[in-house]
């Protein structure tokens, strides 16, 4: 799986029917995959032509073959995606490994300067310079560890307990309300309760919370006082849909393709604090839950980010609802 030769072979030989959708989702993560998606569209056209000829000969055999080819290519696409993820993971680990020691040394050196009282006699300029070095070292440390966390989330085992998203959205709303800017937004959470409540999803509650919280916090961050932020949940046959919409600044068309990438920061974000890790984190969490993410935006009008999560077989999950519904621990909750 980690041999580059295999990866090249697979990338070269993988025609994708079922793989196109997956490829589109993943294309933001890796430029090589973007090439692959373009290639696979051409291959689909060729395959379609070939299939057309085949139909005139033996329809049933052709169908079976197409189905088999499609399944095989989907597996190949998955493998390519896995390898790309592995490559990225290895890169983040190397980066982390190479930077963590120098950063630890820099921080210890700064602590020495501070603790040694050397700054008491220093000029104002020196004091300011040391303070600035300290802030920037912290910033690099945060960035490196954020990237490493992201890589870690791609591989760590994910808990799959039933999660009540209705309760989770309430909590997200509470958490977001603590962001000062949220008081100047109109925040609406719409969750269906009739004729039945939202189904449970299977997953890691903490991670799903982080994903949704990030989206809502982003909506607040990239909107202005008076703007509206809507959190909308709905259900279709076998999936749960969650949308976070805002009437904020929107994302320019030339930036929308990059929003899911690590460290992607649009022009509008450059004046705001943050490491550009939020949406990449959301994507990793959702993908690890077998879900999909999507984004629609109009420059100057606003943005809608959607999450689609599969709903497991309801018959199996329903009896656990009462037991697993998370109660609030109000009396024990410390003041924040």
């Amino acid at each position: 799986m980690t041999r580059p030769a295999t990866g090249t072979l697979l990338r070269g030989s993988a025609p994708a029917l079922g793989g196109v959708a997956l490829g589109v989702i993943l294309q933001a993560a890796d430029p090589r995959l973007r090439l692959y998606v373009a290639g696979s569209v051409a291959l689909v056209a060729v395959l379609a032509g070939l299939a057309g000829t085949a139909v005139t000969v033996i329809v049933i055999v052709a169908r079976r073959r197409a189905a088999a080819a499609s399944a095989a290519s989907a597996a190949a696409v998955r493998q390519v995606a896995e390898e790309a993820a592995q490559d990225r993971l290895r890169f983040f680990m190397r980066l982390d490994h190479e930077l963590k020691n120098p950063l630890t040394a820099i921080r210890a050196g700064l602590a020495n300067i501070e603790q040694g009282g050397g700054l008491a006699l220093a000029s104002a300029g020196t004091v300011a310079a040391v303070a600035s070095v300290s802030v920037q070292a912290d910033r690099i440390a945060r960035l490196v560890s954020d990237l490493r966390k992201l890589a870690d989330l791609e591989t760590r085992e994910i808990e799959t307990a039933p999660v009540d998203l209705t309760a989770l959205l309430d909590e997200v709303a509470e958490a977001v309300a603590e962001i000062p800017a949220a008081r100047e937004r109109i925040i609406r959470v719409t969750v269906p309760r009739a004729p039945w409540p939202l189904p449970l999803v299977a997953g890691d509650r903490d991670l799903l919370f982080i994903a949704v919280q990030n989206l809502v916090a982003n909506a607040v961050k990239f909107s202005a006082p008076g703007d509206t932020v809507e959190v909308r949940a709905s259900e279709d046959d076998d999936a749960l849909l969650l949308e976070v919409a805002d009437t904020g600044a929107g994302i320019p068309a030339d930036e929308i393709g990059q929003v899911w990438q690590e460290l992607a920061r649009g022009r509008a974000a450059r004046s705001l604090p943050g490491t550009g890790i939020g949406l990449a984190l959301v994507r990793v969490i959702v993908v690890r839950h077998g879900g999909q993410v999507a984004i629609r935006s109009r420059d100057g009008q606003g943005t809608v980010v959607g999450i689609r999560l599969a709903v497991p077989d309801r018959a199996r999950i329903a009896p656990d609802v009462a037991g697993l519904r998370q109660d609030r621990d109000t009396p024990g909750m410390a003041a924040v």
Partner: protein, 241 residues
């Protein structure tokens, strides 16, 4: 660590000279006598020779690495408190794993003041000559008993049903009694690193533990809330033999 003149002796083991040359004077100024080891064998040799009060071990070192050094120390009945310097993303579960018996751990790159705080805490908690709680297979607090190897807990005779994360949290609380544990730190325990957002995850797990224990937050027998800061395990903890 008797009178004010007695400086605790600690071993700082890391193969990166840039780190030891900066951290050693920092720890020295903070009141420790520091001896530097640049690999695992040197660390073992220093512990043998100096019988220090504590040890800071980097996990990645030439020779026996930090984990191996720790295992050998514990196997040899050396119970001195040890802080492991780990990698981001290594689960806390592994870092505080019983077969290693680290008293605490810290991800690089860490804030040196945080190392100082953790080092002071583990030294304060140390029970000279006795096995630290972090290396005890079973621990007890009142009617609550925890088997740290099988990760099972009993309240009187009833076994508690806990999620793996709640069990991990209970283990950490048990082995860090009477310490103020901030939500950020507990989040790190649950995940192996601090998340940039949301500490409700910790509150939820604490709530799960309290429900399982029937612990009243207003009059806690085990887990007390420290308003605005975090939690504290208030029960007296002992080895359960």
């Amino acid at each position: 660590m008797g009178g004010p003149d007695v400086r605790p002796v600690v071993i700082l083991a890391d193969d990166d000279e840039a780190i030891t040359s900066n951290l050693a004077p920092f720890l020295h100024r903070a009141g420790f006598t520091v001896h530097v080891a640049s690999d695992g064998n040197a660390a073992l040799e220093l512990v043998e020779r100096l019988d220090p009060d504590g040890c800071v071990l980097d996990v990645l070192m030439p020779g026996p690495d930090g984990r191996e050094v720790l295992r050998r120390l514990r196997r040899g009945g050396r119970w001195l408190p040890v802080v492991l310097l780990t990698q981001v993303g290594e689960s806390a579960e592994r870092a505080i794993a019983l077969d290693e018996g680290a008293d605490d751990y810290l991800n690089k790159p860490f804030d040196p003041y945080e190392l100082l705080a953790r080092l002071r805490a583990v030294l304060r908690r140390a029970r000279p000559g006795r096995r630290p709680l972090s290396a005890s297979p079973t621990v007890r607090a009142g009617d609550l008993r925890l088997d740290r190897i099988s990760r099972r807990a009993w309240l009187r005779d009833a076994e508690l049903v806990l999620t793996p994360k709640a069990m991990l949290l209970l283990d950490y609380l048990f082995t860090h009694p009477d310490e103020l544990l901030t939500r950020e730190r507990l989040l790190e325990v649950l995940w192996g690193f601090d998340f940039p957002v949301g500490t409700r995850a910790v509150d939820n797990r604490i709530a799960e533990l309290r429900r399982a224990l029937g612990d009243d937050p207003a009059r806690p027998e085990w887990i007390a809330t420290v308003p605005g800061q975090g939690y504290r395990f208030v029960a007296q903890v002992d080895d359960a033999r």
